[in-house]
Amino acid sequence: MVRELLRRELLIAWRRPGEAMTPVVFFLVTSMLFPLGLSPEASLLRPLAPGVIWVVAFLAGMLGLQRLFRADFDDGTLEQLLLSPRPLTLIVLVKALGHWLVTGLPVVIGGGVVAAMLFVPARDVATVIAGLLLGTPVLTLLGTVVAALTVSLRQAAVLGPVLILPLATPVLIFGAHSATLAMQGRSAAQAFEALAAMFILAASLLPVAAAVALRISHES
């Protein structure tokens, strides 16, 4: 079931490449505006790089969020998923994984490109990517809960980011901090431990919350 569902998610994204590509294109284009708008000097951009990358990655994650359940809600396939005797938590987890593979992973890879563009030293680019690799799934999982809560609301485009922002700040802080520490030549281990803890908490608890939220928002 897991394999078939994941295959379905990826297949739909593959047949609708425009929609799936939006977050990573947004991420790359918006990051490129910073050297243009501020100044293309390495001394200015380098210390800003971690913050820029993480804020833009967060915003890019918000972009694709509504896509997670809305399409399934509109065409009735969400009903079918809710009616399945299979555990809904697992279904939600697979959907979140599919969503991250389609929208999150390209941003992680793009993060390496942007880091190089913003003059992050080559040895620290890997740290940026590793941070994103741990942090973006947490953002996706938080987004899953919010998308599940707001799936039946028509005007949720603004509500989603507003709800998710306070929950996502720890990820943003530790994510950006991990890269900054590495660039200053200090150990980023503690920031990574915090990110890993958040990832484990999110992966174990948030799919349950999202499954409950889906049932509740479908009841009316």
Binding site: L5, R8, G76, L81, R86, H218
Partner: protein, 233 residues
Amino acid sequence: MNGLEAVKPGTAGSARAAAIEAAPGLAVAKLELWRGDYCVCVGLDAAAAPGQVLHLRGANGAGKTSLIRVLAGLSLPESGELRLWGEPARGRMTAYRAAICYVGHSDGIKRELTPEENLRLSACLVLDPSRRTPAEALERVGLAEHAGRPCAEMSAGQRRRTALARLLMSNAPVWLLDEPLVSLDRSGAGLVADLMHEHVAAGGIAVLATHQPVDLTGIDVVEVDLPQGGGSW
């Protein structure tokens, strides 16, 4: 059976309530259901045994879809009980979901995927899949030639047939069909009737919500009439 006809415990109604108690099929007891501030039914008792069709009738807006969503376990009624094989569904929702197959107002079909891919997913979402392959199910609903075409390119009626093919992918004994005839042509309506005849003959239960005529000759039909707008107060 009138939705406003409340069953008072200990009076004449209790004989019917007792009959429903004993019915070993799908039953609702003393169901009270509101949609917003519109009352769909109060004290509704209805039951269908294996081999029977429960036909929900009512004008547009009478609450057929709301009621069938309750039967599907998608929404909760204000009060009342939903029973399957004499046991309350509450607290046993996984077993209940395994026993039903629901074709709702919206088809539940992914337009990016082909009918075959859609059905393959449906088959893996049920616990007790039928022995049919997606290709066989599609042939039965008359879509054999379109199995490999994205559903986005098909007509509404063809997508509806794909949704109906889902019924053939599971062995669920209870079918819940909400307006199955929408956008189907005459042969499609015949297909729905044929499928229901086969299902009921095999000892299944079907709940049908529609105001369009379906040929159910020879089937034991339990009619439930939802009053038109009469429940609002």
